[in-house]
């Protein structure tokens, strides 16, 4: 990952004086935001260290083709191709690469005979594209549509002597091989069918032009490029465990059990080698095979000449390899041709299990890219720790907040404490000035100290690969990274969870975060506790549970150590709490689980009695419909940290329409195919404590993609309308009425009144990927909805545009209420794109968090790219404008004060004179 520094040091002071407006000014670009560009997990790469233009070309699992700077690892260019499966890259072929199968020279300008770089992607149709690898521009493209699209999913491609071969296997039957001229797409006319009854999906692979299958203790292979189609059998020493892998660069060489095996008679290999990863290249004009292994955090790189199997001493190196990269896999390498041939010009490119790309040169890590950030699945903003002096003040304030009476009684001692604190502060300041103060802690040195507005936070990012990052939300610097090997997300496409067990508010106790995941081996739950500021494990770190996690919930803070316990429901509906001393707090908690496939909801009640926790199922709801076809495609609960400041809405006649703010309300959306309406979408609002369905609504001829956001008393969701073929957003608001049934207490069990429902639908002229509401500390600031679009922009939509109470006819009442007359189309003005031209490729999710300022909300958008910014929905009403003229106002103040003093003096003198007349 590249570190992007935009606003450090002196900029920070300026940053705080920000007066955000609805759009950015030109000079504010990249001032409060930064974007990190990623490419995704490395699939195939080509390192080319020629003298005139060294380059690294790579393709990734995310369907991205990119070129990377050899020296820094920065992107030279990047092309984000179509989404999977259409954009899945099957082959990356670079001409001029030291591979005997490629004999095409770089394309002459203006001709379409050769190519520079070629990619094959997708299966139906398969797209073949020729690229200009210097610019990243497509030069030509051709496609082929297979006859059988289903079988074509397994299709393989290889390139040999200007011809692209398309291999479609039919398992346990035959292979269909079609050859095309690579740059034109014309068939060579030699489409052949190779009968091979032994082929299965698990045991076969393509190595160069050889199709190799394992059959017990032997390899059966066919050279697909040759006309003869002769079957070659190669005996193995032992049956390979795991899958075979091909060795790129050598035709017909596979790796089985960490050993090289050649099925090609013309290709000899060094059979004695044993390693976890290999790569082939050339060194001093001789072909070599390089192999790398990780041993106790040390990466050993060795090489061997292929012709005589003697070791290449120049390339032997030991590289200290940090644990957070995971297990490395040598992807490719290249050596610069030097006169002395000392091997110092060799660059080795590794992809690791933590989805990093690591470049090693001269025995050290030259650069690394954190590509796991292309799949962020959860994010958190954590407050930074206080400076020590502020910490003591904080503890004083806490005593006040905790216990009013004792504070009042003890006013003298409180005063004394304040005086001593301030004396200590002055002393430490003095010591600091003369240079005798205590050395700053590691976090302070890194600049990780809370600012007065709480805008500077630690952004904790959890990625799909199990890597966790601590990122500075202002500079984008990676302060720490952690890797949890061998963990997975949960079933039902539920991701790992990142939760805060103790916030940074409890000085001097350190904050505590926890990751909940599934063990990759046995499917049991895994808990990992760590300090989000330092990235170090705390409370014992990794904890393997001996049961599967079904659901979880956070409990209230304990009084002893301010930890919020995690309650876990296991597969047999038993309840567990971590840490165990928080167990009593779980008493009286309600839990619900939703089964997405059957659309069945279950509610549980947790009881603590006699030192034991137990759960009882108290309700059950089936949303599956009469023929149980409905499946849950969306669940939306409110943000648990949300505060609702205004309890009602002022109407035109100045009466109040009270909001129906049910904290236990969860929205469920189900979808099912329908005979008459193609597809049905149902929305259910369920009180998950009592299990009562508060409201339901059905949309006909409507289907996913669905995005949903639920906050305060409203709900907004987007879907695709099949009838008119457009994306629409429906909004719902719930009101209690002109009176509140119970103004002090909300209880779902005491049958609260049914809400009045306002609803409206809007057309949005874009594809919605994600919806998210802004959130602020006290909820005073207006709520805006952030709409992430498929094109990668984030639009800030004020709620009053989505308001379901927008009147159809322009009535005075509606106008006095402040509602805009209803217009079905929602405007998407360019000023409201909060990421202006910083497009977030493959935008997947947006996370919001309150800052210390009421007006400002912190935003992070994740996808292939990462975009961090802040928004101020009601403008920065609690901040002075950035261009506030301090000098002018101080001059005016001083002038007026001194003027009035002078005038006063003059006036008294005049009065005295007049009296003497």
């Amino acid at each position: 990952m590249l570190e992007k520094k935009f606003g450090a040091g002196p900029w920070f002071a300026v940053l705080l004086m920000v007066g955000a407006c609805s759009a950015l000014y030109e000079d504010q670009i990249k001032k409060f935001d930064w974007r990190a560009e990623n490419v995704g997990k490395l699939q195939q790469s080509v390192v080319d260290l020629n003298h005139f233009q060294p380059r690294i070309l790579l393709s990734t699992e995310e369907g991205v083709v990119a070129s990377v700077n050899v020296k820094t690892g920065e992107l030279v260019w990047r092309q984000v191709l179509e989404q999977k499966p259409r954009g899945a890259i099957k082959l990356l072929q670079v001409s001029g690469f030291s591979d005997e199968s490629s004999d095409t020279a770089a394309a002459p300008i203006g001709s379409n005979l050769g190519f520079d770089m070629l990619t094959v992607q997708g299966h139906a149709p398969a797209l073949v594209r020729g690229w200009n690898s210097n610019l990243g521009a497509i030069e030509w493209e051709w496609s082929t549509m297979p006859l059988n699209t289903e079988r074509a999913q397994e299709a393989l491609w290889f390139y040999s002597h200007s011809v692209l071969y398309h291999v479609v296997p039919t398992w346990r039957s035959h292979l269909e091989v079609t050859a095309y001229f690579a740059s034109s797409g014309h068939s060579t006319g030699s489409s052949s069918k190779v009968i091979a009854s032994w082929i299965t999906a698990e045991s076969c692979l393509l190595s160069g032009s050889y199709y190799v299958c394992v059959d017990g203790k032997q390899l059966i292979s066919i050279d697909l490029a040759s006309k003869s189609g002769q079957v070659i059998r190669t005996a193995l020493e032992s049956q390979p465990f795991g899958k075979l892998t091909a060795l790129a660069g050598l035709n017909g060489v596979v790796i089985a059990n960490g050993k090289l095996i050649s099925v090609n008679k013309d290709q000899s290999v060094c059979n004695s080698l044993q390693s976890s990863s290999y790569a082939v290249g050339s060194f001093n004009y001789r072909k070599i095979v390089v192999y790398a292994d990780l041993a106790s955090n040390n990466l050993k790189i060795n090489a061997m000449y292929l012709d005589n199997c003697s070791p290449v001493v120049e390339l032997e190196q030991n590289v200290p390899f940090p644990e957070h990269f995971g297990t490395p896999q040598l992807n490719s390498f290249d050596c610069m041709h030097r006169k002395n041939g000392d091997g110092k010009g060799c660059l080795f490119l590794f992809s690791t299990s933590a989805e990093s790309i690591v470049a090693v040169q001269q025995g050290r890590i030259r650069w690394s890219r954190e590509e796991s950030l292309a799949n962020v699945i959860d994010s958190l903003f954590v407050d930074l720790p206080l400076a020590d002096s502020e910490g003591t003040l904080e503890s004083e304030m806490k005593g006040k907040a905790g216990d009013f009476t004792s504070f009042d009684r003890d006013i003298a001692s409180a005063f004394l404490r304040r005086i001593t604190t301030q004396a200590v502060q002055i002393r430490s300041l003095f010591l600091h000035v003369i240079g005798l103060g205590p050395p700053p802690t590691a976090t302070q040195r890194a600049g990780l100290v809370r600012d007065s507005f709480g805008l500077h936070k630690m952004l904790v990012l959890l990625t799909q690969a199990g890597k966790i990052f601590g990122v500075d939300n202002i500079s984008g610097k990676h302060h720490w990274q952690l890797y949890l090997p061998n963990v997975n997300g949960f079933d039902n496409a539920e991701n790992m969870r990142l939760i805060v067990q103790r916030s940074a508010k409890h000085f001097p106790l350190q904050p505590l975060c926890t990751i909940l995941a599934k063990d990759a081996d046995n499917g049991y739950g895994v808990l990992y506790r760590f300090n989000p500021i330092t990235g170090l494990a705390s409370e014992g770190g990794l904890l393997h549970l001996d049961y599967k996690i079904k659901q979880l919930s956070l409990l209230k803070e304990t009084e002893k150590d301010f930890v919020r316990g995690v309650l876990l429901l296991d597969a047999s509906n038993e309840v567990h709490v971590y840490p165990p001393h928080a167990t009593p707090l779980a008493d009286g908690l309600y839990l619900y689980t939703a089964d997405v496939k059957t659309a069945e909801l279950s509610g549980y009640f947790v009881k603590y009695a006699g030192g034991k926790l137990s759960s009882t199922q108290i309700w059950n709801a089936r949303l599956g419909g009469h023929n149980s076809e409905q499946q849950i495609i969306g669940v939306a609960a409110k943000n648990p940290i949300e505060h609702v400041h205004s309890q009602g809405r002022v109407l035109g006649d100045r009466s109040v329409l009270y909001k129906y703010i049910n904290p236990n309300l969860v929205a469920f959306v189900t979808q099912a195919p329908d005979a008459t309406h193609k597809s049905l979408l149902n929305l259910y609002l369920v009180d998950v404590v009592s299990g009562s369905v508060i409201f339901t609504m059905t949309h006909r001829k409507v289907r996913a993609p669905l995005s949903i956001v639920h906050s305060e008393n409203w709900l907004a969701y987007s879907y695709f309308n099949e009838k008119v073929r457009r994306t629409e957003i429906t909004t719902i608001e719930l009101y209690e009425g002109k009176t509140q049934a119970n103004s002090s207490v909300w209880s779902s069990l005491q049958a609260p009144p049914m809400p009045l429902v306002e609803r409206q639908s809007y057309i949005i002229p874009t594809l919605v990927e994600v919806l998210r509401e802004t959130i602020t500390e006290r909820g005073i600031t207006n709520k805006h909805v952030l709409i992430g679009t498929a094109s990668g922009s984030i639009v800030e939509m004020p709620w009053h545009l989505l308001d379901p109470r927008r009147p159809i006819a322009s009535t005075t009442q509606g106008r006095e209420e402040g509602a805009i007359p209803y217009i079905p189309e929602l405007p998407l003005p360019t000023e409201s794109h909060i990421n202006y031209n910083q497009t977030v490729a493959r935008l997947r999710n947006i996370y919001t968090a309150p800052s210390g300022l009421e007006s400002t909300c912190l935003v992070v958008a994740t996808g292939l790219d990462l975009f961090v910014t802040r928004v101020a929905p009601s403008k920065t009403f609690d901040l002075l404008k950035e261009d506030f003229d301090y000098i002018l106002i101080s001059i005016v103040l001083v002038a007026l004060t001194s003027g009035s003093l002078i005038v006063k003096h003059l006036a008294s003198r005049k009065l005295l004179k007049q009296a003497w007349k």
Partner: protein
């Protein structure tokens, strides 16, 4: 100055020492007989004072029609001039009420208490009028919506957790 006096002595000097008895001579032009109707004149003055003070006491009441007219003319829109007028209408009688003591000092008499009450009531009527105007302009917090900001959020009794099943 004394030299001036002494120089003027000769012309206009009136020597009081010539009189033998201790009584002072009446000033020039003073006729003791003019004192006959003295009691009668005092009664008339008193009536005048009472009349004047009733005028004072009824003043606020007499203002009401004028205020009503101004109110009608200024309309219910909230802008600087109607606000200023309403402000004046409200502040003036309140100020006057606070200074009732001082005002009534000038007119102390038999009907003092009545006048004071009338004066006070008149001012009160003016205040009421101004408040009515404020109300019709929507400046008084008389609606539920005006107290909405102070409505506390409901405390929740139940807490929940959960979501889509992980199994």
């Amino acid at each position: 100055m004394s030299t001036k006096q002494s120089s003027k002595k000769f012309k206009w000097a009136l020597d009081f020492n010539t009189s033998k008895n201790g009584d002072m001579t009446s000033p020039l032009g003073y006729n003791p007989a003019a004192l006959v109707n003295q009691t009668d004149a005092a009664g008339r003055d008193q009536r005048l004072v009472i009349k004047k003070s009733w005028d004072l006491a009824l003043g606020p009441l007499k203002n009401i029609p004028m205020n009503l007219f101004i109110m009608y003319m200024s309309g219910n829109s909230i802008s600087i001039f109607p606000i200023m007028m309403v402000g004046m209408m409200l502040i003036r009688p309140i100020k006057a009420m606070f200074t009732t003591q001082v005002t009534s000092k000038m007119a102390e008499g038999a009907q003092g208490t009545g006048q004071r009450i009338v004066y006070f009531l008149g001012n009160l009527a003016n205040v009421a009028l101004a408040l009515y105007k404020c109300h019709s302009m929507g400046l008084l917090p008389t609606h539920a919506s005006d107290w909405l900001a102070f409505v506390e959020p409901q405390t929740r009794l139940e807490h929940y957790g959960g979501g889509v099943s992980f199994i």
